[in-house]
Structures are given as C-alpha cells and as structure tokens.
Symmetry: C2
Subunit: 124 residues, 2 copies
DNA sequence: GTCGTTGCAAAGCCTTTGCAGGGAA
DNA sequence: TTCCCTGCAAAGGCTTTGCAACGAC
C-alpha cells in the first residue's frame, strides 16, 4: 500500500505551483524548497509512481528530452520556441481528421511537437 | 578535409541495404558484417558526421529513442505498431493546414509520431 | 512491529572524449 | 609526410538499483 510522505507531497505540490512541462532537475530544485533533504533518486522513484498512477504524464520531447506535466489538462500539443526556449501549450488537436493511416491500420495515439518562434520572438 | 575510409563507406552502405529507421546497435551490427573491426565509437562519430553533412537524419522517437534514417525521402511521418513493434513510413503530412499556432507565432518545423496497430496486427 | 520509503552510493545505459597508433591523400 | 580517422578505454549525462536506516500506519 502507498504511504503519504513529505517528499511525495512536495513533488505533487511542485506541479501545482508550476503548471507546465518540468524536467527532473527542475522538479528536484523546486521540491527542495519544500523538503530540503529531497534526494534525486526519490524524485525519480516518485515521478515513476505518479506516472503509473496517472497523475502526471511523461513527455519525451524530441528537442528537450524527458519532461513531465500534470494529466488533468485536455488534449493539447506543445510548441517549442527556438528563440526564448520556452514551451507553450496549444489546446486542441493539430492532426488531420481524415485517412492519415492506411486502411486496416488502427491509430491509437499520436504525439505532435511543434517548433518555431513565439509572437514575442517573431516580432523582431 | 574528409577522408574516405572503409568504416564510413560501410555505414553508408548499411543505410542503402536497410532503408528504414535504424538504431546505433543495428547500424553497428550490420556494419560489422562489412568491416568486422567496426567500433562503437566510430559508428557514433561517423553518424554524427553524416547527420552534419545532411546525408542522414536523426529521429528522436518518443517511444523508441534515437534512430536514424536516410534524408533522401520526401516528407513523411512514422507509425509505430505496438503489436509487432515495427515502424512504418507514412508519406505525406498529417498536420492540419490551418491555424494550428496562434497569431504572431511562426511555425518552423513539426514532428509527428503515430502509434497503434498495423493491418497485420489489427486483423488478428 | 511491519513494510513502504528515503538517502546515499554504486551501477547501468547511451553517448562522448582523450590518446596513441594507423592509414588516406 | 601530414593529419584525419580508428580502436580502446575512460569519462559524462541521465536513470535505476542495492542496501541499511527511517518513518507512516
């Protein structure tokens, strides 16, 4: 059975306070502000547990590597700005509706990663 | 200046003989059949060079990790079958044409990864 | 008291790098 | 001969794991 610990609560709190894609070092840094002793291995173990529990989702970003976010958002994709290096959430789906897989194929899931320049970086 | 070596030729030959997404171990294994002494570090160094030269493309697949493919294909996306674990190429683009990024944003590139079941695995 | 959890250190992948010898031009 | 390239081993990131102490219930 799962036990409540200060460490696990701290990690969940980090995601409440920073509702965006987070890396392990970021989670550890923010979490340490709540539980100073917070160990790296503990972060990894709890993240794995939270992913298994469906509370957070692992995002393997092609440019940024492994990141995590809360699961309680509706369907969306991520836009990575090459200028300021931030990641924006784009609600909705950018996938074509029709015939993207051949007949007989079953499409179960998709990952879409967009990149370019955000409005601030594009507006010279 | 770049020099022709048996190792580099072997690696390029691997991509000619196996025109699909390849992992480093696969490249090394196939390449060793041509140049038995082929070292892992040599594979990494040559792959990096070939990517820089634009001859092969690195694909950071969210489920499969780092893979490589020849660049001389037209635009396409990859479908990963969860049944047989193979990756199929889907020619064309599966991205919606309209308004997928907010006003002012500039979309420069996108990565789309599809997964599900191929026709063979779906038609039990 | 039980046993899941933590911190610490070590180990495991994957990838890169330092170095001396070897080979292409 | 020059100096790029290779093999080997070591080192660097990121992530997992073994272990003894700790702490939730």
């Amino acid at each position: 059975m799962k036990r409540q610990t200060a460490q696990r609560r701290a990690i969940e709190q980090v995601f409440e306070q920073h509702d965006r894609l987070l890396s392990i070092p970021e989670i550890r840094a923010y979490g340490s502000q709540i539980v100073p002793s917070l160990n790296q291995a503990t972060v990894y173990r709890n993240i794995k547990q939270l992913v298994a529990a469906g509370r957070i989702r692992q995002v393997n970003h092609p440019d940024l590597g492994t990141r995590y976010e809360r699961t309680q958002k509706s369907h969306h994709h991520h836009f990575h700005c090459n200028g300021c290096n931030r990641v924006m959430v784009l609600p909705g789906c950018a996938l074509k509706d029709d015939h993207i897989v051949p007949d007989g194929f079953v499409l179960e899931s998709h990952d879409i990663f967009l990149s370019g320049l955000c409005d601030q970086c594009a507006g010279h």
